[in-house]
Symmetry: C2
Subunit: 213 residues, 2 copies
């Protein structure tokens, strides 16, 4: 199999921002953009943008710049958008329901197909016409039968590791973790942590240490 070069995580984290501004340019019917113009939009340096984009093939053209449609499609392809990803949520509390109803990623092909909870009062409830809270006991079987790609953890930290273990055993390839804990997973599964309190602490530190020049 062809050996792909390894792209650093810093580059990957910039891709969604490129994508966002390219979307804007597209909806403004702008068909061409230079690394300099993208720099003004995104705040990254033109040099960095050219270097980033070059990792993924020849999107640009000397003397011209980048074609917006081509680059947008290219970045989508690099990220892996353009297909559907099926997701389930463990924990049907406030956060789980909010994530289930969030519609930004939904538009790009990410579909929450079910929520799971242990609480008998919640099991059976409908979140929407097409989305229901199911019994946590049935989660593993459901994931296996429905080829779920991503498992989302929206519980307290005490339950998080056990849920992750079930997710991995059932065959998800990615975990999106909202519980405030570091989870152990096997090598073949990816994890993205959203440690909300950690982020809030970082904000507060910066608020308190702002140097008023």
């Amino acid at each position: 199999m062809k050996q792909k070069p390894i792209i650093s995580n810093a580059v990957i984290r910039r891709l969604p921002r490129y994508r966002r501004y390219l979307r804007e340019l597209r909806s403004s019917r702008i068909d061409k953009v230079s690394s300099k113009e993208l720099s003004e939009l995104t705040g990254y340096t033109a040099s960095q943008i050219r270097q980033d984009l070059n990792h993924f093939g020849d999107f640009g053209q000397q003397g011209y710049g980048y074609n917006v449609d081509v680059l947008y499609a290219g970045i989508n392809a690099v990220i892996g958008l353009g297909r559907t990803y099926k997701m389930v949520i463990a924990g049907a509390g406030n956060l789980g329901r909010a994530i289930a109803n969030h519609n930004y990623y939904y538009k790009t092909g990410f579909i929450v197909t079910a929520l799971f909870d242990k609480n008998p009062d919640l099991i059976g409830r409908k979140i929407r016409e097409d989305l229901q809270i199911l019994d946590y006991a049935d989660m593993k079987e459901y994931i296996e039968k429905n080829d779920i790609d991503i498992g989302i953890i929206c519980t307290t930290k005490d339950a998080a590791q056990e849920i992750a273990d079930i997710f991995c055993a059932a065959g998800v390839k990615g975990i999106w973790n909202f519980a405030p804990i570091d989870i152990e997973i096997p090598d073949n599964v990816c994890i993205e942590n959203v440690h909300l309190s950690d982020m809030l602490y970082s904000l507060v530190y910066r608020m308190n240490n702002k140097t008023n020049e």
Copy 2:
């Protein structure tokens, strides 16, 4: 005024994780920890841990290690915990309500005092006994009167910049933004973005580019 050394953002982002593991050690009644032990817990190298902690004063003692209580208290003080931070949420949809009810940061002194929305069906509703959805039109005055520290944006992206402008004009010192857009703010305000779809895209990229060694 004494000139504080500027601590890099990379260091700051590690502090909450140190804090989390120190909490665990405390609740296990362990009173001493070495950089090597902390390294095993956090995954950072012992060398990095020693260098990180040294930025903030002499928490350690040669030949002994770090006293857990002292270090925990020290990190809390560095972050700026130990006082109360008042927050309001703009946007009382699913996400706004989930953030309002989230109790992790609540325990550390972060209090959501009100939610604001434009929707007349929501205005006046109670989220909890002590927490209500108020009229968006009154938000600026409320923030000024109640000395709100942090404004949280839980709306669609179209409203986000206007809300941020009101937050800043009313005197918040920090903004926690959940809208999928980059917001412009004056120099004296700090912002922390939680771009959920960006994070999901990053997860998916990694899932698709996992090298199975």
